[in-house]
Symmetry: C2
């Protein structure tokens, strides 16, 4: 699991569907997107979510699609795969805007301490960089 | 793990740093971002990545920051947390553009079959929706 998480190759696609796209159309498009896992060998997983409007900095994007791949070569294979192209022909005309970005995941911290960099007693291993100076001056900064 | 993955509360922040921001400044800002896991209780993990330029549809975004939270309330707590605000004061002036979106992750498919919806023999459980009609006509569609 450690290896699968650190170094994982991911793609995030953010989308806003055109006004007038029905919920059932969106549902079908998501189903088709998900089905690519069955059709494109190097595509390992598909997850999606819908914005929760907490910070209002989402630039109009509503849906987020996360996909993972076994290798950079696999991502390139997905990019030109006929099943992906067929899906894109149906998906893209329904979008008002989208943004898609592929990247290799770097794990930096988690609260579980599983990777040795978490909250459980390992804080001291990391220099407190600028950005937390106010906290250094005022104690924990949690009750400012 | 199943529960942590399906239903997980995430935030994706995409950013493009201003021209002239040095690699060491970016590194320090990422370190400060990562350190929020130690300062904001409901923030569970921090990961990041840098775009691989495979599909060229990233709208200028270069860095992707993934954070996870224990609850919607926790996300709201993070949004107004003083440590987050201190970090934002240093981070935001260095950005040319950003987009931040919070969402609840829905698992749809993975290739491992661990959630019962994967590639391993469970394809038939899902109707092939439109978007794969070409493949139905032409066989697998993999060699089109």
């Amino acid at each position: 699991m450690e290896e699968a998480k650190g170094g994982e190759l991911k793609n995030i696609l953010m989308a806003k569907f055109k006004e007038g796209t029905s919920e059932s159309q969106i549902e079908q498009l998501i189903e088709s997107f998900a089905n690519l896992v069955n059709l494109v060998e190097p595509m390992k997983s598909f997850h999606w979510g819908k914005e929760l409007s907490i910070e209002k900095e989402e630039e109009g994007y509503i849906h987020v699609f996360e996909t993972t791949f076994e290798s950079v070569e696999g991502m390139a294979e997905y990019a030109v795969h006929p099943a992906h192209h067929d899906f894109a022909k149906l998906f893209l005309p329904n979008l008002e805007k989208m943004c898609s970005i592929g990247y290799r995941l770097v794990r930096r911290r988690d609260g579980t301490g599983q990777d040795g960099t978490g909250r459980d007693g390992t804080e001291q291993r990391f220099r407190v960089m600028f950005g937390t100076s106010k906290m250094e001056q005022n104690g924990t900064g949690l009750n400012d």
